[in-house]
């Protein structure tokens, strides 16, 4: 079970993954700002787009910086976080829906 995983060991000295993660995070942040203030899209579309960008950025952090899939525990770690995200979306989106449905 605990067999060595060569893929985990970071022999390369240049932290390629980190630079890619950082670059894309900056791009996604700036894109979100642009969409929010300059794009002239309907508010609903803007909201959807910036939330998609936020989740993408969160995934970048988890994969590029936090190495969530590393070692034989990677699956459990990923499963735990995905479950927590499910709970979070249920709590947040569910609350908003419950409090706005039926009255304005």
């Amino acid at each position: 079970m605990a067999k060595p995983q060569a893929a985990v060991q970071n022999k390369r000295t240049f932290p390629f993954k980190h630079f890619v993660g950082y670059l894309f995070s900056i791009v996604l942040t700036l894109l979100a700002v642009w969409v929010a203030f300059e794009s002239e899209l309907p508010a609903k579309v803007i909201m959807n787009v910036i939330y998609i960008f936020a989740f993408l950025q969160a995934a970048l952090q988890l994969l590029m910086f936090m190495h969530i899939t590393e070692t034989s525990n990677g699956r459990i770690q990923t499963g735990t976080i995905l479950f927590a995200v499910f709970i979070a979306i249920t709590v947040a989106a569910g609350s908003v829906w419950v409090m706005s449905a039926g009255h304005s």
């Binding site: 932290p15 942040t29 203030f37 910036i50 969160a58 947040a92």
Partner: protein, 207 residues
């Protein structure tokens, strides 16, 4: 999992090599799952109370994109430098860890400075935690995140002291790695505060 090979994870980075280190890291991921649930309740409260300003100041009047973007880039960069510290740790370079972690903490302190200034500005303009339901939710959400950042600075600082005392061992490296997970997580939470509090708040004003 319950196998008896204590030191057989030869191909793995130092922080995973002891069974304790590996399990502590897994345990911390489970803790982060609980933190996500905690923050989700604060986000839910905030989203539900959006617009409940009770005739007081509105976020559209007080939010300022410049300061918020500065905060965002400070924290984002600190998450990056924190990752570089882990990269140095895996190369066995203790000095590199100090440099990048030190920079991480400095950027984190800069973020906190901006946030405290922002809060003071709001209070000055008449939006305190007691002004309206909206501002209560705002200060609790952003404040809980800020307190996490402050705690992280102290925690990582102490771990750096321990590193200086004990050097890189399976135990200390697991602690450094776990505190790095915590720091990255704070950036993840901030991304959502940035999106659902600041960006959304301002889109709704001209949408």
């Amino acid at each position: 999992m319950g196998n008896a090979h204590q030191q057989t994870h030869e191909g793995l980075p130092l922080e995973y090599r002891s069974e304790t280190g590996k399990l502590n890291i897994l345990g911390f991921w489970i803790f982060l799952g609980a933190e996500i649930a905690l923050f989700s309740t604060l986000f839910a409260t905030y989203m539900v109370l959006t617009g409940r300003t009770a005739g007081g100041p509105t976020p559209q009047e007080l939010f300022e994109m410049k300061g918020v973007l500065t905060q965002t880039f400070l924290l984002l960069t600190s998450s990056f430098t924190c990752g570089l510290a882990i990269h140095q740790m895996r190369l066995g370079n203790l000095k590199g860890i100090y440099v990048w972690l030190g920079l991480t903490l400095a950027l984190g302190a800069g973020f906190l400075g901006f946030e405290i200034y922002e809060f003071m500005q709001y209070v000055h303009e008449g939006a305190t935690i007691g002004t309206s339901a909206f501002w209560s939710a705002f200060f609790v959400l952003a404040g809980t995140h800020g307190v996490h950042v402050a705690f992280g600075i102290g925690w990582i600082g102490l771990i750096m002291l321990q590193l200086a005392k004990r050097g890189l061992t399976p135990e200390t490296s697991a602690k450094v790695f776990i505190s790095s997970l915590y720091w990255h997580f704070l950036d993840v939470v901030w991304i959502f505060i940035f999106t659902s509090v600041y960006l959304s708040g301002m889109v709704m004003s001209h949408g």
